[in-house]
């Protein structure tokens, strides 16, 4: 039998103290980017797990390639663009997003339970995960750094218009705002409004206009 995981209070090897090696860098500065200490730590962890026989390095490479090359916001852009030109697809997307997204071949990890949120002139949707970094991977790929960071997670639910201003976005007068905090395994995809001046465009051309941020709700789409 193996030990039960899940109790990390004081008394565990790492609980209740702040060691220099834990922070990596001085307080007030976010450790990580370009941080050589963390690079060495991860390298050591990988070789340890390979040596113990728990991890196959080739699988790591495949995971990285998947999320760098194959799974990203172009998937979501495809979904959104199709919903603009095909009213029946749009209806299916708004009724059962998981199934509608699966029609296009997208699904899986962190997209098991999808909900699509339709932006309208009256209502603008914004998605956040205040507690961690929940994000719809199959349609948007890996979350951007800002989505996982304290400034966005703390402020999106309290002052979403202030957050939008950081993205250079101002909503029109009369557009109310609804913020969705992803606190469960449900993942949200914002369906932005189709930009004006795109009548007759095909799905591929429309998809090229759809930005990742517009599908999180931190962007809106301008006329091309």
């Amino acid at each position: 039998m193996h030990k039960t995981v899940g109790n990390f209070g004081a008394g565990t090897a790492y609980g209740g103290r702040v060691a220099a090696g834990d922070t990596g860098q001085a307080a007030g500065q976010v450790a990580g980017h370009g941080d050589n200490t963390m690079a060495l730590r991860v390298e050591a962890l990988e070789s340890l797990l390979v040596e113990k026989g728990y991890v196959d390095p080739a699988a790591l490479d495949t995971i990285i390639t998947t999320y760098e090359r194959d799974v990203g916001p172009r998937n979501g852009a495809h979904v959104v663009a199709l919903s603009w030109v095909d009213p029946e697809y749009r209806q299916r997307l708004l009724t059962d997003a998981t199934a509608a997204i699966a029609e296009l071949g997208y699904g899986g990890r962190q997209g098991e339970h999808m909900v699509a949120l339709e932006n309208t002139p009256d209502e603008h949707h914004l998605v956040v995960c205040t507690l961690c970094s929940c994000y719809p991977w199959p349609v948007l790929g890996l979350p951007p750094t800002w989505y996982k960071s304290a400034p966005y997670r703390s402020r999106a639910v309290l002052d979403p218009r202030g957050v939008l201003a950081d993205f250079g976005v101002t909503l029109p007068e009369g557009t109310r705002i609804t913020v969705h905090d992803s606190t469960a395994e449900v993942r949200y995809l914002v369906v932005p409004m189709r930009p004006p001046g795109t009548d007759g465009w095909d799905v591929e051309a429309l998809a090229a206009l759809v930005t990742r941020d517009s599908m999180i709700g931190t962007g809106v789409l301008a006329a091309p």
Binding site: K3, T4, V5, G6, F8, T12, A13, Y14, G15, D22, T23, G24, A27, G28, V30, A31, G32, D35, M38, A39, R41, V42, L48, L49, K52, G53, Y54, D56, A59, D61, T62, I63, I64, Y67, E68, V71, G108, R109, Q110, E112, H113, T130, L131, C132, P144, A150, P151, R155, V157, L158, P160, R161, D166, R176, T178, V179, D181, T183, A184, V186
Partner: protein
């Protein structure tokens, strides 16, 4: 728990810094950290709720000064040690001090199917839902020392059920080896002023996804004093 991960409504972190769509990683170690975190879960020694709890129980000063992948790395080290797959000495010395246990290892060939399948959190409906769409509810006030997905800012607040998602695994139990204890899951919408007071924008709505045990029946008026 009331940890540093529960960030909703905190102040002082400065502006959000947007980044381009193709910027997925900022250092090569972040790629490896992502992949290691996914691959190391394959032996099945912990679940997603235990992973989240391992991260949110980092010391607040550590959590708030670590980049997200650095949080993941530290969470992974804790999971490896608490599950017994690796010893604390091995983490500290950065080398194996003994052979590994037999474990299911993720192969490169399995990766596409594993990622494309995911892990569903819904379970069969074992009893009727207590609440229906449009029904007023109030979130409970609770400060558990263990894992919960009810954020501090949304405790004790009056809202309305917006969606009924079905029956989902309860993180509060699942994070602590207490089984899945599945419950009905709802999207609940709150008026911004119910959450933040009179200074909040009048046209702000916030939704959370809440398990049934996070909710009590509300009143039609929905005002805090009427409960």
């Amino acid at each position: 728990m009331n940890g540093a991960a529960d960030l909703g409504g905190m102040m002082g972190f400065g502006p959000v810094v947007p980044e381009p769509e193709d910027e997925r990683f900022h250092a090569d170690w972040e790629r490896r950290a992502l992949a290691l975190t996914l691959a190391a879960a394959r032996p099945g020694r912990w679940n997603i709720d235990q992973s989240r709890h391992a991260r949110e129980t980092l010391h607040p000063a550590v959590y708030l000064t670590s980049s997200y992948y650095a949080i993941w790395v530290q969470g992974l080290e804790r999971l490896l040690v608490s599950s017994g797959l690796v010893s604390a000495e091995e983490i500290a010395q950065r080398r194996a001090l003994g052979p590994g246990e037999p474990a299911r290892v993720l192969t490169a060939a399995e990766v596409p199917a594993v990622l494309a399948t995911g892990t569903r959190a819904d379970r069969p409906e074992h009893r009727p839902a207590a609440f229906a769409v449009g029904e007023p509810v109030r979130t409970v006030v609770r400060n558990p020392t263990g894992h919960t997905r009810l954020p501090r800012y949304a405790r004790g607040k009056a809202g309305v059920v917006e969606r009924v998602h079905g029956v989902h695994v309860l993180p509060d139990a699942h994070a602590h080896g207490l089984g899945e204890q599945p419950e009905w899951l709802y999207t609940v919408r709150f008026d911004g002023r119910e959450l933040w007071g009179a200074d909040a924008a009048a046209d702000l709505t916030v939704t959370i996804d809440a398990w049934e045990s996070y909710l009590e029946p509300g009143t039609r008026e929905g005002s805090p004093s009427s409960a």
